[in-house]
């Protein structure tokens, strides 16, 4: 049991930063909370609703996302979109991720 928990903790830590990267790139086209959550999950980024929603707020506060209420539909929703600053961050994170992936690829110990 403890072994399984430790495994889960390691995997979570590895995934943590990738959600921010995925949000910033997905929101190039504007999206709202739950829609984004589904997109993330279908694209293989395991995310919980209760971490995603506060994360969007935080990124907005930092200026990486902009937001706008869409009241045209039956259910008003808050739509987020990546700002130019957020795009730069996404670019940087993507480059970093590629560098990490390449570095991992070059490691010994893979069967």
């Amino acid at each position: 049991m403890a072994e399984k928990e430790a495994l889960e903790t390691h995997r979570q830590e590895l995934r943590r930063g990738t959600v921010v990267l995925a949000c910033l790139r997905l929101l190039v086209e504007s999206g709202y909370g739950y829609g984004l959550l589904e997109q993330l999950q279908s694209r293989g980024f395991e995310t919980d609703a209760n971490t995603l929603y506060p994360l969007l707020r935080r990124l907005e506060k930092q200026g990486h996302l902009t937001s706008e209420w869409n009241t045209g539909e039956a259910r008003p929703r808050k739509f987020y979109r990546t700002s130019p600053e957020g795009l730069r961050l996404a670019q940087q994170l993507t480059e970093d991720f590629r560098a990490i992936a390449a570095a991992v690829e070059a490691l010994p110990g893979d069967r």
Partner: protein
């Protein structure tokens, strides 16, 4: 599709958020929950069960609220934990024995039976320890939550190994000396009020007027406690700032002005001591001179302490 569970959940999340965020977060959260429920209904779930499942998956509303408000979910985080532990250890090691010693001495002098001496020494030692732990932790928890700027902790280098640092008046030892001094002074003051500091001709005599008890005395003790907290904050910030120096000034004024007023009304010092020590009617004269000197000392100390804190703030800018 408004239902009580969702309403209660949204309320539980938003009630602790800052006012201006509340409505926006509530609307967004409600829409998200509705989206999720709808999804489950389309997949064939029952309405009640769907709502329950969605809210259960969102988890404890207080955790979610902390996420929205960027609040810590710990009392003292890694930024301050080590300082908190070091300080608490030191305070416990220094203050508890001092207090216990003081109480034991007092009880012995008062001729209390051995059982009462041991009992009250242990009792006071324990309650002093509990108070130290509580107030220190409280101060740290408040600082943890109030440091919005997230004052960058300078990364540790070998230069930070314990060594001689330029004197900023904000070293651990400065803080400890001040806090211990304040504690000792407070104990002496209370002792002087309740018993008297000098033993003269078969009775205890007070230096200060006994009429200070309880209101003036309480005020002074609160000011001393505030001063101790200030010293700890200075230490945590690693330096005096102009804002802290201003607080120090206010504290000095708050103590000095009433003290001078009381002195001028002949209500600060107790004449008993001087009238007893100095015979032949000269006591009254000595008491007058002493009052004058005390007034000068009060002004001098308050002024110097104020100027000093501003100097330290400028030096460590």
């Amino acid at each position: 599709m408004e239902s009580t569970f969702t309403d209660r959940y949204v309320h539980a999340v938003t009630r602790t958020l800052p006012e201006q965020q509340r409505g926006d977060v509530a609307d967004e959260l409600r829409a998200s929950i509705a989206d999720q429920i709808e999804d489950r209904l389309e997949a064939g779930a029952e309405a009640d069960a769907a709502e329950r499942d969605v809210l259960n998956a969102l988890g404890d509303p207080d955790v979610l609220a902390a996420g929205y408000a960027d609040r810590p979910l710990h009392l003292i985080g890694p930024r301050y934990f080590l300082e908190w532990r070091r300080l608490l250890k030191l305070l416990l090691v220094i203050v508890v024995p001092l207090a216990a010693f003081g109480v034991a001495l007092g009880q012995i002098l008062a001729g209390a039976p051995i059982g009462a001496i041991i009992g009250s020494t242990i009792g006071v030692g324990l309650s002093v320890a509990v108070h130290l732990a509580f107030w220190t932790t409280l101060v740290f928890a408040v600082v943890e939550r109030s440091d919005d700027a997230k004052t960058a902790m300078t990364p540790w280098t070998v230069d930070r190994l314990p060594a001689e640092n330029p004197y900023t008046g904000a070293r651990g030892i400065d803080m400890i000396v001040s806090v211990v001094f304040l504690a000792v002074a407070a104990i002496a003051f209370v002792w002087d009020q309740l018993v008297g500091l000098v033993y003269l001709q078969g009775e205890w005599v007070s230096f200060l007027s006994r009429d200070l008890w309880p209101w003036w005395a309480t005020g002074l003790l609160i000011a001393m406690a505030a001063e101790a907290v200030l010293q700890i904050v200075v230490f945590l910030r690693r330096r005096w700032t102009y804002a802290l120096a201003a607080v120090n000034t206010v504290l000095n004024v708050v103590v000095a002005v009433p003290a001078l007023w009381l002195l001028s009304q002949r209500e600060l010092l107790s004449p008993d001591f001087w009238l007893t020590v100095i015979p032949h009617g000269e006591g009254e004269k000595v008491f007058g001179i002493l009052s004058l000197l005390t007034g000068i000392a009060i002004i001098g100390i308050a002024a110097w302490d104020t100027v000093d804190s501003f100097l330290k703030a400028r030096r460590s800018r």
